[in-house]
Each structure stands twice: as structure tokens, then as C-alpha cells.
Symmetry: C2
Subunit: 201 residues, 2 copies
């Protein structure tokens, strides 16, 4: 129905997460009809980002700089390192607001089925940091999935070998969550991981 | 939080219709992290489309060709012309499947407040077609809004002056719609526009 270039644009827009055929078509029409300047800007920005954004040499998060602004920030606690699966997880933890150390981004989790091993997750770089930096604590904040747990286990072992204290973020019922709406797995974990009300006694 | 190029990409993605800050961020992460090839393709396709897509010389729909495929199709009924507000409306009518004539795209509606007059909607081109083509019927399919109706009225007058039969698509309760969920304006219109069950009698 549309001309080849427009059809191609609609197809290309469908690569965006949660954009179906209808939204892709609406987006294409909007960009070409209402806001070609914004469309040009988006095309340019996208091309630039794909070309120039790589990984921080220290924490592997996405950045066009050699060292990202978080690693470069001397005011961050230098002796605490938090391992996460994705750059979006860094943002989530930053927004939570109570962590002031540095990060290490795996870009995934161990997944032998998909051929993702330690080397793909930058484990050599992480081990090097564990060996050379004087870290007080390594916090493992991978996702509470089967693969995330296996990855956490692997990292915890490596940290222990290097003599670095290692912790795992807590999992359980979300604050403000109602028990009746929480899935059984989470609830079972929350029960198993219960903590004493009066730890001293 | 993110590096400048990534922040810029997130901002650029927000120009897309119904994409808020959260989705823009998710899209940027997805494109850079999971599918940079698709991102490159999208950047290229967008740049190409913005540069090369213009308007069909005959019907004003969006196309990179001088004459669009619908205008160029000799099997379409040549004596029937349907006026719509946007290229997406052409698609909607084509998908309905029972119209086989040609189109004319206004790219908007008359709106004195926004400074949109007849010249902006290609009225001179439309009048020229009314004067030179032997049209059997002009169908006005602008939206049933205040501006759409005013635009329809304007076009109908021009067609009458040129001696071309002009019609307006019907408005009323959608097929399969339930009366109790239809807005009052539509229902009032449907009542006013009622047609005789037995027109002959
Ligand atoms: Zn970094
Ligand atoms: Zn055309």
C-alpha cells in the first residue's frame, strides 16, 4: 500500500521493543507527516550512538567514553562494587538512592544453552578488579532467576577465592506488596529467608 | 546518569508518538545492547525516508515517487475520487476493501485558528482535477469533527460549482457497536440521519 521507502521504514520501526505493525505505521506517518525534523534528529542520534557508544573499560556499562562518569567519579565509595546484569539495572539502583559505590555490568548472565560463558560476561576483568583493588565488599545484584542465581553463585565463588567479602541483594515480598498477589515462588523464598525480629536474643 | 550520546538518543526517541521517558529508555537500551544492527538499519531507513519521501503530484499522498502506485494504477476506477485528511485514511479505506477509485489527500483540515487555509490543503490542485477530469463522483471522507465537517462543506461547494456530484461518507453507530456504549453525539447524528426501511413506499 505505501511506497517502498515508507514500507521499509515501517518494517524498521518494528524492531523497537513492544512496537507492533499498527504502532509502527502510526509512528512512520507521524514522523513523515508531522515532524520530519524530529525524524532527522532521531536518525542522526541513532547512527551516532550505534557508531560511538561502546563499553566502559572499567565497569563495562554502555558509554561513548573510555571510562564512564560513575567510574570516573572519585566521590563514589571506591571499596564497594555492585555487579548487575544490564546498564538499566545500574539506573534502577541509582534511582533507589542508597548505594554509593561502583558497578560492574555483565551484559547478561551465564547461560550454557545459549553459549554464554564467563568470558562473555567480562569475568576476567572482574577477577582482575577483585585481585587488584582493595574492595571491602562485592554486592551481587543479578536477577533472581535460575540463570541469575547461577551467575551469582559463580561470582561469589570467585570473590571468595580472592578473599573479598561478597553479598547478595535480598529477595522477597516487595515493599507495599500484598501477600495474596505475590507469586508462590517469591513467597516461599521470603519464608525461607525470614530474619529474626530480635537478632540478639 | 547515562552518557551524553545515550541521553540524546533517549530524548530523540521521545519524539515518537506515545513513547514516554520509560519506554524511550527501554528502547535505547534495547537498540544499543541487543540489536545495534537493527538500530543502524532504522537510522538509515529514517534518514532516507525523510530525505526522499514527498507528495504524489496527483493525489498528494506520501511517496518517494512522482506519482504514487494508486494514481498510477490504470485498473482503479478513474471517474471516482475520494478526499481524505491523511495518508493513513487512504490505508484504512483500502483495507475496508469496497472502494476502487482514486484518492486525494488534504494533509489536514481547514483550521483558520491554526492558519490552515484552502491553499495548505492543495485545494487548487483538487479544483484543477475537478475541472479537467471527467469525474462521476467526489466522495468526501474527512473526519466527522467540527473542522472535518467545515472542510467537507467547503469541498462540496467547490465540486458543485464544477458540476461534479459530491457525496459524504455515512456517520452513525459503528457496525457491531452497542448503543449503550456509543457517545451521545454519534447517537444523535445516527437518529437524525435515519433512512427509510422501505424507501419506495
Ligand atoms: Zn564505568
Ligand atoms: Zn497519488
Amino acid at each position: 500500500m505505501f511506497s517502498p521507502l515508507i514500507e521499509e521504514l515501517i518494517r524498521a520501526l518494528r524492531c523497537l521493543p513492544s512496537v507492533g505493525p499498527k504502532s509502527a505505521q502510526r509512528m512512520a506517518m507521524y514522523l513523515l507527516e508531522k515532524d520530519p525534523e524530529a525524524a532527522s534528529l532521531l536518525a542522526h542520534s541513532l547512527a551516532q550512538a550505534v557508531e560511538r557508544v561502546g563499553r566502559c573499560q572499567q565497569c563495562r556499562t554502555l558509554t561513548e567514553e573510555a571510562i564512564c562518569s560513575l567510574c570516573d567519579n572519585r566521590r563514589r565509595e571506591q571499596d564497594s562494587l555492585c555487579v548487575v546484569e544490564t546498564p538499566a539495572d545500574v539506573l534502577a539502583i541509582e534511582q533507589a538512592g542508597n548505594y554509593h559505590g561502583r558497578y560492574f555490568v555483565l551484559h547478561g548472565h551465564l547461560s550454557p544453552i545459549d553459549g554464554v560463558g564467563p568470558a562473555d560476561l567480562g569475568m576476567d576483568l572482574l577477577e582482575q578488579r577483585l585481585a587488584t583493588e582493595s574492595l571491602r565488599e562485592l554486592i551481587v545484584a543479578t536477577n533472581p532467576t535460575v540463570e541469575g542465581e547461577a551467575t551469582a553463585q559463580y561470582i561469589a565463588e570467585r570473590a571468595r577465592v580472592q578473599g573479598v567479602a561478597v553479598s547478595r541483594i535480598a529477595h522477597g515480598v516487595p515493599i507495599g506488596g500484598e501477600l495474596e498477589y505475590i507469586d508462590g515462588g517469591t513467597l516461599a523464598h521470603a519464608l525461607n529467608s525470614r530474619t529474626a525480629f530480635f537478632p540478639g536474643s
